[in-house]
Symmetry: C2
């Protein structure tokens, strides 16, 4: 049985497609343009919730509040409120009070307990939230919530910063013979006065899932999807991924051992992987998606470290931008990853074009390589012949626009 048969993509779906979820967004005045800057996802029943957070030592105030909500509510959430335009990071006790006030305002607006609400922010660091605008915006959210795709669209717009495209995916599968939907929406890297790339992602499903199982699945899936992308190697203070499972599909609660658990986990991973790739492809200034696959490493963990070193190499990223089949930079990145590598047994391919076998260059058609490297997606394959570990990482090329976007004097 191939993975393909376990689930199917629902191209018309959105984060409001799973039963029980509404979403919406509006402009409350945090962004200077009139684009949406405040949004919410609300579930009509308490949804089982799981979350992962940035590993950065400096964690923005909303992460503390969300962590506390999920811990205090027995891993249940009814709503997530998100703003863009201001990260509420490095804002001290006032920032923490503001994040709690956002939660309280959202709880009041939606008629929920405070611990049933999660909070996320992205945008400028080191500036206090203009709480009058935020409070006014939150009070207006119930009126814009909708079940259909328009609500999801408005939400997706509200979480973007300078992302060029919204990132959303939905899949369907059968659990206990019932249709289950899993959806996700994410934002990636954008530039705001002073900023860094922040990743926020939100997942909804109408499957019933055991809380512990959802948290473990989220953590394990993040390791091989969101944690395998890099735009510039910088980890934000605000990164957060929250999943909510409404249970309204009325399947028996999913956990390892359930006959459909593997299918659910595969579909869940597809959503995360798809969003992760979309973030990489829409990285600041990117012109193409780069996918690095490493196999034959001593362990999967070792393969992950090597794949991330290659995908993060400025020299490799520049070469991809220049459509330059520069395998010397790839092998040098493999060699500096700090992982066990046999220096005599490395094969490297660019797509189907073999450039290195047994660590020795193979003559290849430069014209064919140029055409391949000018494509939309560049796959770099590294075979180490040193074990059974494998991993895939995603990133993007390093371009003039990356420098332009990030060197622009704050205005």
């Amino acid at each position: 049985m191939g993975v393909v048969s376990l689930f199917s993509v629902a191209p018309e779906g959105s984060i409001t497609s799973p039963k029980g979820f509404q979403a919406g967004g509006l402009h409350c005045g945090l962004k200077k343009t009139n684009r949406n800057d405040l949004g919410a996802i609300v579930c009509e029943v308490p949804a089982v919730a799981a979350a992962v957070y940035t590993t950065n030592v400096f964690q923005a105030a909303p992460l503390k509040v969300t962590r506390e909500s999920i811990a205090s509510s027995g891993r249940k959430l009814r709503a997530i409120v998100v703003n863009s335009g201001n990260a509420n990071a490095c804002t001290g006790q006032q920032g923490e009070a503001d994040a709690y006030a956002m939660r309280a305002a959202a709880a009041k607006a939606f008629g929920l307990g405070e611990h049933e609400v999660a909070v996320a922010s992205t945008g400028v660091i080191g500036e206090l939230l203009p709480m009058d605008r935020v409070a006014g915006g939150i009070a207006g959210l119930p009126a814009v919530l909708a079940e259909g795709n328009d609500g999801a669209e408005q939400f997706c717009q509200a979480i973007l910063t300078t992302d060029l495209v919204k990132k959303e995916v939905c899949v369907r599968l059968a659990v206990d013979g019932r249709e289950v939907l899993i959806a996700g929406a994410a934002k990636g890297s954008g530039m705001i006065h002073p900023n860094m790339a922040t990743m926020l992602a939100f997942m909804t499903t109408d499957a019933a899932v055991e809380p512990q199982a959802l948290q473990q699945l989220l953590g394990a899936t993040t390791d091989v999807t969101f944690n395998m992308i890099t735009v510039d190697g910088d980890t934000s203070t605000n990164d957060m991924l929250v999943a909510m499972a409404s249970g309204l599909a009325e399947n028996r609660p999913l956990a390892p051992g359930h006959p459909d658990w593997e299918a659910f986990a595969a579909a869940f991973r597809h959503v995360c992987e798809n969003l992760a790739q979309a973030i990489a492809r829409d990285g600041e200034g990117a012109t193409r998606l780069v996918e690095v696959t490493v196999e034959g490493a001593v362990t999967d963990e070792s393969a992950r470290a090597i794949a991330k070193t290659v995908i993060g190499s400025s020299l490799v990223k520049s070469a991809v931008f220049g459509a330059d089949a520069n395998w010397g930079r790839i092998i040098a990145a493999v060699g500096r990853a700090g992982e066990p590598v046999n220096p005599e047994t490395v094969d490297i391919s660019l797509g189907d074009i073999v450039v290195l076998t047994g660590s020795r260059p193979i003559p290849f058609d430069e014209e064919e390589a140029l055409v391949y490297l000018q494509g939309d997606t560049v796959a770099i394959h590294v075979a180490l012949h040193n074990g059974k570990g494998s991993a895939t990482a995603w990133g993007c090329d390093l371009t003039y626009d990356y420098v332009r976007i990030n060197a622009a004097y704050r205005t």
Copy 2:
């Protein structure tokens, strides 16, 4: 007693200034232009030798040969022969044979034992050396060797790739009341068909130094100088630093415990630090030198890891290019370094301009910051208030020219 009084810079000095050393360079046809591409340093007596090598798993053939020479000769060298234009890396058994042949040819030309000769290469990866040109060039080296600065100048030109400037420094100090000179020459990052940034550095001194002491000093000094610079985070297959001590100053051999050891170590470090800074300042596309100092870390090692994370951040480097006082990117890099940091006690300054105290933003004069950041050198100071560890790292800004240089299709 201040450090200043231990030694003084000899601005007119070069690697041929220490007694016993000659150097030279010529064009043998490895570079397409008529610039020098082959050079040598020769000592009239067996010099105590020490070396450090790249940590990359893939080590180019010349490193193996140099390592073997120093091990087999009782840590003595009479000559170093260096070529640019071809790295002799990923070239297999033929490449190794070629590196040994370079050593044999140089030994013959200078009338030395093979184990008295070290070999270094920098340039294209994965192409075999055109040994006829190399052999012809080496045969011509004795005729161009000279004791004066012209020989050093020709040598310095021979090791450059696309470095914009040569990097050379000389200091003088007294050991046992005798004048001792320490000099160094280095090359940094350059772009060649397919390439990576390679660092080569060569040091000469007429001090007498115990072999073990020289090796230990070289290793320890490298950790806080050459290993603290980054242009783009990529570690070459060819990096090598070799020091030679002729002993012709006729001091009592230096080692820890000698009354002038500290002065010698300080002068030695000055040479390494100066070359390291010069490499960072001349990084590909760089417009300014960036210096990151971290203090108050739990250990020096922890401070080094944090300083290198900040100096290597593409977002920080882009902000410096844009003269943007973007402290949010600095604190985010500090927080993702994986080292112990108290998130409430971090101070950050840009030069004398304090931008963050106790992890909270301090209002500063944007105009003043802009002027400072447009200068030749940008100093970022991070105080963690978490211990006594400190470190300094050097790098450069990330510019359009970096992308241009590294994205250019190989021609």
